[in-house]
Amino acid sequence: MRPLSRSRRLDLAFLCALAGTAGAGHAASVDPQAIAMQGLPPTVPACQACHGPAGEGNLPAGFPRLAGLGRGYLAEQLASFASGKRQSPVMQPIAAGLSTLQQAAMATYYAALAGMAAKAVDADPLPAQAGAWLAARGRWPDDIPACAQCHGASGMGVGESFPPLAGQPAAYLAMQLQAWKHGTRPPGPQSLMATIAMKLTDADIAAVTDYYAALPADGAPPADKGAKP
């Protein structure tokens, strides 16, 4: 199953990152760029090792993009990784290795990096295109709103609290939905995502995360994705 192999890969990348930064010196004051590029050895590897030098993430490896996400959102995630409320064997020690001040500085740093070359396009999927349909129209008889209603057309994100979904790795997005379902990630603002994730089947999750992962950075709908009736 996807989440297992994904966490293995994450562990591996973490070890590589640790090894790569073991020799670097301690940063004296909060320099978010230095932490991003070199880390804070020995506990904190360079963020860029997994999240890319521009915070762009790593699609094939399943590491999410951080650039351009909401500052408040990022800070909250670092805090909940550190406390263990958002469970992640990889991110927990890293976040816990950062002081509150350093966490805030990293959130500000990544929020300020240029996100995607955003271009929101309203999708008009067919009902048979399960992922695209859930994203654009939801499943209201089950009180599931369209993802786009909060995350924006083309999943470009809205404001501070609704992060972009477009172009994020499918495995990462799926892990988050499963984490909400199983209570291993805090329910988020007003428990919105926990409430919704509980109602999603594994098939829903696979379809909708594949859909968002395939959305290119320019926001144009992917060509010929999904089933044709």
Binding site: A118, D143, Q149, C150, A153, V158, L192, I196, P229
Partner: protein, 303 residues
Amino acid sequence: MTSRLSQARATLGLLAAVTGFATGAIAAETATAPAAAAPKTFVPPPENAMPDGEFGKIVKQGEQIFLHTRQYAGAFVGNRLDCASCHLDAGRRANSAPMWGAFVAYPAFRTKDGTVNTFAARIQGCFSYSMNGKPPPLGDPVLVALESYAYWLAKGAPVGTKMAGAGYPKLPAPALPADYARGQHVYDARCALCHGADGHGQTSDGRPAFPALWGPDSFNWGAGMHQVGNAAGFIQANMPLSQAWTLSDQDAWDVALFIDSQERPQDPRFAGTVEATRKQFHDTPDSMYGRVVNGHLLGSEKK
């Protein structure tokens, strides 16, 4: 949930009295399964059953206008709302003024303009008030497409009956008179995350994402949603998205009063002064138009 739950409890209490069942045990059971108490509502045809051919094309067009009104009917829209902002699930959702409930309710006499309105005229009204725009002329392709879409959604619905789930639910009167300060508290806790502390909504890449609840980009003083009772019913049955029926009757009334006590675009029927306009069109406890809130005369902002 409160209203439906209390309704369910009342019904069950009666049942228990009649049959001699232990009320406590049954009430406890219903508390975990409140959805069972909801009345069955009409189910419009599934989206994949949209007709083919020339008519189907226009139905589809209507659906797209309904979802992306500014994009496809921009000439008639004067704010940042879409039809689907208040008619959720593309006009399919019960208790969210679904199109299948509206289509079969016209022609009807409306006190709003003192005439019998056809369904087309009713849609024109939406554009004038809720969309703060201009009514598409009768026969305009925008109007024809929206009518066709609503007609299709109402397939099999009984004409001329008040259907369960049509319009917005009428909530029981609140225990305490609706209150602005309590409403603001509810707003900050449950609404501001999406609609913004200033009620002006939020955009995504320049497109409206969360609709404006007041201010220049929202519905005007003539829209049905400016009436506190309508807003309270809509809010309790639909808001926050995915958490319908979680606000108590009191909270819904309070927050509706708070939202409808904010400034918004002028009523297009403006009769020269706010006072005269209130007297002619808003002389009900349901409208805050022309009343003074926090030292401001609502409806007096020049726009």
